[in-house]
């Protein structure tokens, strides 16, 4: 469906002398995370001031991303190729798959550099409240690719929805014959002061204590 801007309210920017094209751009930009109408207006003015150095390269980049980036058919990660670069990398240990909620979590793990295996991006978490069931997540492709996998690491949030998803995946993966299913540890963050931790984190850290 094509974008159709809503009719302007009296006193809004479009009721002033602002060109319609700019108003539309401000409206679209203000839908982006972290931007409101004011910051979108500033961004548009900045783009107009720097057309050659910023606006045109941005247009080209947006065009390119829209044309080339898509979801990897194997792991659900976003990349220019499908299967993606991670799935086809020869120097990665593909017998270990790390299951994450979204691309942001995948990038976080890649920044940490601690995992050198494959990934699987679910695209969300199971949620009874929001009516998100297993059919709405990228779960079936995960079950199809685990036949020759030694370990699946469930790197999902330590939240009610995250762990509900982890338990569900654990059952399905066990039934699919995965030998080792692990999850991230719970507990105190590195550099965290016990005094300032909430009681839930403290309780779970104590429960997951290890011998020294």
């Amino acid at each position: 469906m094509s974008y159709r801007p809503p009719s302007a309210a009296p006193g809004s920017s479009s009721a002033t002398s602002q060109p319609q094209a700019m108003t539309d751009l401000v409206r679209l930009l203000s839908r982006l995370p972290g931007l409101g109408p004011r910051s979108a207006r500033r961004a548009v003015l900045h783009l107009l001031k720097n057309q050659d150095s910023l606006m045109h390269p941005l247009m080209t980049a947006l065009d390119q991303v829209a044309a080339t980036v898509s979801k990897c058919e194997r792991c659900g990660a976003l990349d220019e190729t499908s299967p993606c670069q991670i799935c086809t990398a020869p120097n990665r240990d593909h017998s270990r798959i790390c299951v994450v909620r979204d691309m942001g979590d995948l990038w976080a793990l890649e920044r940490a550099g601690a995992h050198k295996g494959g990934y699987h991006v679910l695209g969300g978490l199971l949620s009874a409240l929001d009516g998100i069931g297993p059919d709405k997540l990228f779960i079936e492709p995960l079950l199809q690719r685990v036949s020759d996998v030694e370990e699946v690491i469930l790197a999902l949030p330590a939240s009610v929805e995250g762990q509900t998803t982890a338990h569900y995946l654990g059952d399905r993966l066990r039934a699919a014959g995965v030998a080792t299913i692990t999850r991230l540890a719970y507990g105190a963050p590195v550099g965290g002061d016990l005094e300032f931790l909430d009681d839930g984190t403290l309780a779970i850290a104590l429960k997951s204590r290890q011998a020294v």
């Binding site: 009874a128 939240s159 762990q163 509900t164 719970y186 839930g200 309780a203």
Partner: protein, 244 residues
């Protein structure tokens, strides 16, 4: 300016914009209440709004009918204690989902107390699934669909063993025997709190409460019983089978 202070149990927390959260809680004196939490979506505060968590709430609004805003402080976080236990985790989400059928801003102190006890007991050693059954029957009663387990509907003796699916009244073993295939079994732990329930009793309890939840409560709001109840029961049955 209208305001009140209370304690509440989180039933749901929905993102509002990028930084705020619309929080829905079951409170002691103000029933099911909602309000906006400014900055509630931040990483620091998000954990406070997991379902089942106990909060201290200060609600404020210019007019009584407005959504209003909450100032909150975390009191207790049962959600953190059940992350490892699949059945308890699903039970926590289920009882919070069930509590959302309660009317808004209508005090239900008994239901609140029952939910507070239940959320603190989940995942423990005790027979907490029996508390889930009791909670379901408590919600039914608070919504006007309570079962009458005080005496036999057919004038029989005190040996109550069945419940009539039509009236929700108890029936004695002798009176109900000819109709036992049409009546719902009444587990003994629902008649006296000191009777320790067996897994079979709890199963019968869930059948009983499930019947009336579906036929009375959820039918009245034209909704099916939430899927999460089925998921919880399945996880609990698997856990019971594994431990026996």
């Amino acid at each position: 300016m209208h305001d009140w202070q209370d304690t509440g149990i989180v039933l749901s927390a929905r993102l509002f914009g990028e930084t705020d959260v619309i929080l829905e809680c079951l409170t002691t004196d103000h029933g099911r209440a909602a309000g906006l939490v400014k900055g509630g979506a931040s990483r620091k505060r998000r954990a406070d709004f997991e379902v089942g968590n106990h909060l201290s709430l200060h609600w404020r609004a210019r007019l009584q009918d407005q959504l209003g805003s909450f100032a909150v402080e975390s009191l207790h976080t049962p959600s953190a204690h059940v992350l490892d236990d699949r059945a308890a985790l699903l039970a926590l989400q289920y009882v919070c989902t069930l509590s959302r059928v309660l009317p808004e801003r209508e005090p239900k102190a008994n239901v609140y107390e029952a939910l507070a006890v239940l959320t603190r007991s989940l995942g423990g050693e005790g027979a907490w699934p029996a508390l889930v059954v009791r909670y379901e029957l408590g919600v039914l009663a608070s919504m006007g669909y309570g079962l009458d387990l005080s005496e036999c509907a057919g004038g029989g003796d005190d040996d109550l063993a069945y419940v009539s699916p039509r009236t929700g009244r108890a029936v004695s073993r002798d009176q109900g025997r000819p109709y036992h295939d049409k009546l719902l079994p009444l587990p003994p732990f629902l008649l006296a709190s000191q009777i320790a329930p067996t897994p079979e009793d709890i199963e019968a309890g869930f059948q009983l409460s499930g019947f009336f939840l579906g036929r009375r409560l959820y039918a009245s709001v034209h909704q099916p019983i939430p899927d999460i109840r089925h998921s919880f029961l399945q996880a609990w049955q698997e856990k019971t089978a594994a431990s026996s």
